[in-house]
């Protein structure tokens, strides 16, 4: 294998690993947008909260209180983070989306969730302080080597977990009654209501699933991120870029765009330096908005007057 090829493969693997993490977060945004036509700006803060929940599960609950081995504690932390995320989803639906839905305004819910995001970040700042937490996954220590390509067991875990959750989500949407109902609500809320589906319940369910994904994403991202109360802010801007590039509400587009952004990020780090990641991703976003504002794969809708 030549040096260049090895480098390209290595960076592609790093990129896919990152991309999987972004997909977990961006998918939630897209799911919520699909059924509700709303953006949860605090979505990525759920990732941070999930990461902190996972951190304390590993360092306190898992190892100290329950006396679990490192690996078991980390796996447990993923479950905790998932639960915490789901709880936050329930809360934000009850507090913001449900009350504001009646008023049919597209800006107010977004503004309200920006408020929630600012609140969550600064509440965590007050709780945890600004100094980054060192969050090591036991799987990060194990390196796997194939030829000249290196990757950690953590990256295998991340790719596996996100692939499984994305596949599970996909199967759920495609094959179960609830999933079909969800898609019906996404397409046409009134018709879905006529079919005997309670759209409010399904919207709540969607937000909970999306938020649980974000929370678990936190447990997986924790060891990658610099874990501070503002960790989510760097993720949210990229997630927005991903959902726009993929086309809002489009699940397949989001997956492709997430992986793409991950790979672009990996190569940007390699060739341009890590300081330019946001710049590159957002220039791509703006170009995308100019060229194809409906996303990579999308159909046009004409406004009904």
């Amino acid at each position: 294998m030549t040096d260049l090829l090895a480098l390209v493969v290595q960076q592609s693997i790093n990129g896919i690993y990152l991309g999987c993490l972004y997909v977990m977060v961006a998918l939630g945004l897209t799911l919520i947008y699909g059924v509700l036509n709303q953006i949860n700006f605090a979505h990525a803060d759920f990732v941070t909260v999930g990461a902190f929940a996972a951190f304390f599960t590993v360092t306190r609950l898992g190892t100290k209180l329950l006396g679990l081995p490192d690996t078991a504690a980390y796996l447990l932390s993923m479950v905790t983070a998932l639960g915490v995320g789901a709880g936050l989803g329930l809360a934000i639906n009850a507090a913001v989306f449900a009350p504001l839905r009646e008023r049919g305004d597209e800006l107010r819910p977004l503004i309200a969730t920006i408020g929630v995001s600012v609140l969550l970040e600064n509440f965590q700042l007050w709780l945890f302080g600004p100094i980054p937490f060192q969050f090591d996954s036991p799987f990060s220590r194990e390196t796997i080597r194939i030829g000249r390509i290196f990757f950690t067991a953590q990256s295998v875990l991340v790719v596996a977990v996100s692939a499984v959750s994305i596949a599970a989500l996909y199967a759920f949407m495609k094959f179960t009654f609830l999933g079909k109902a969800l898609r019906a609500v996404a397409q046409d809320r009134e018709t879905a209501g006529l079919m005997g589906i309670n759209p409010n319940l399904l919207i709540a369910l969607t937000i909970v699933i999306a938020s649980a994904l974000a929370g678990m994403g936190g447990a997986l991202l924790g060891p990658v991120l610099v874990l501070t109360p503002f960790a989510g802010a760097t993720v949210i801007v990229k997630s927005f870029a991903i959902v726009i590039i993929g086309g809002f509400g489009n699940v397949q587009g989001t997956i492709i765009a997430g992986l793409l952004v991950g790979v672009i990020e990996a190569f940007t780090v390699q060739y341009l330096g890590s300081g330019l990641i946001d710049l590159v991703v957002f220039v791509l976003l703006l170009v995308m908005l100019v060229v194809r504002p409906t996303g990579l794969i999308a159909e046009r809708k004409e406004e009904n007057v």
């Binding site: 504001l100 503004i111 920006i114 300081g275 330019l276 908005l289």
Partner: protein
């Protein structure tokens, strides 16, 4: 004398008296900050409140005003006022450029595009070290006038002048046009209104006013670092507009004053400033969508008026 003239005279008197009511240097500093926030709130309100465009990138125009004016003064030895004029023009033109394509985008897409613009601006400030000094920052920036009281009078005077001009504008037929676009762009078009043009106009004017506020910021603080123009600054401006009452002239001014002073009064209780902003933003949207102004009108039982 009309009610407006009375209001104007009272505002002038209050501005004149404030530095003497709050004599501690710390509070005089807060007064300057408050006057700058009033300008920023007016600028965002023009875009968000009057044309309904959710611009999350207002911090970027604030930054452009600050950096362009400071670099022209420090590196090219321009006169402060000439540099400020150039900075305002730069912010306004960049605003127009962003608006030129962003006005085609609706609601959420515009929000994200403007957020993206703010992220890009911030990253350029950090990475273009040859010009901006990056995270090291630019030090020893002098204010246009020597004393804190003088600076307050200057910024507050400008804020007052901008208020009067924008107030005139929104009372004029232009105001009817902007509000019409906010309410329903399709039916505005049926009346011959070119929505894209007027939205870009409001966006550019708002950007220019934010840039104007930015000209005074570095001299006030003495240093200029990219972190002063983080995305969070866009959110704090938004909180001022929303809490005060968007789409009214006086609302965002009240919001700016309340949200500048309230966190200062709470300072003894720790670092609650941004928590207050976040909480206020959410609670007001949920329970008092018209902000303080609407709450007051409801209490006073006055008839609806925009």
């Amino acid at each position: 004398m009309s009610a407006r003239t009375v209001g104007f005279v009272i505002a002038v008197l209050v501005v004149g008296a404030l530095p003497w009511l709050l004599q501690a240097p710390y509070w005089r500093g807060i007064l300057v900050l408050c006057a700058m926030n009033v300008l920023l709130a007016i600028s965002l309100n023009l875009v968000l409140g009057y044309t309904g465009q959710l611009n999350l990138g207002q911090s970027a125009f604030f930054a452009i005003g600050a950096y362009v004016s400071t670099i022209l003064v420090k590196t090219y030895a321009w006169n402060f006022w000439a540099a400020s004029l150039a900075a305002v023009a730069a912010a306004g033109l960049l605003g127009l450029a962003l608006a030129a394509f962003a006005v085609r985008l609706r609601g959420h897409y515009l929000a994200i595009a403007s957020l993206g613009f703010a992220v890009i601006t911030y990253q350029v400030l950090v990475n273009w070290e040859k010009v901006t000094e990056g995270v090291r920052g630019i030090y020893g920036v002098l204010p246009p006038v020597g004393s804190m009281v003088g600076l307050f009078y200057l910024v507050a005077g400008i804020a007052l002048a901008v208020y009067v001009l924008i107030d005139n504008l929104v009372r004029s037929p232009v105001g009817d046009t902007l509000r019409a676009i906010r309410e329903d762009e399709v039916s505005a078009a049926s009346l011959g209104i070119n929505g894209a043009l007027w939205k870009a106009f409001a966006f550019g004017l708002g950007a220019a006013i934010a840039g104007l506020a930015g000209c005074f910021y570095p001299g006030f603080v003495g240093t200029l670092v990219p972190d002063a123009f983080n995305i969070i600054e866009s959110f704090t401006m938004m909180a001022m507009v929303i809490v005060g009452g968007m789409g009214t002239m006086i609302g965002p001014v009240i919001g700016a004053i309340v949200l500048t002073f309230l966190p200062e009064l709470l300072r003894d209780f720790g670092e609650f400033r941004l928590m207050v902003y976040g909480l206020a933003l959410t609670l007001v949207v949920l329970f008092m969508p018209g902000g303080i102004v609407q709450a007051w009108r409801t209490l006073a039982g006055r008839q609806w008026h925009t």
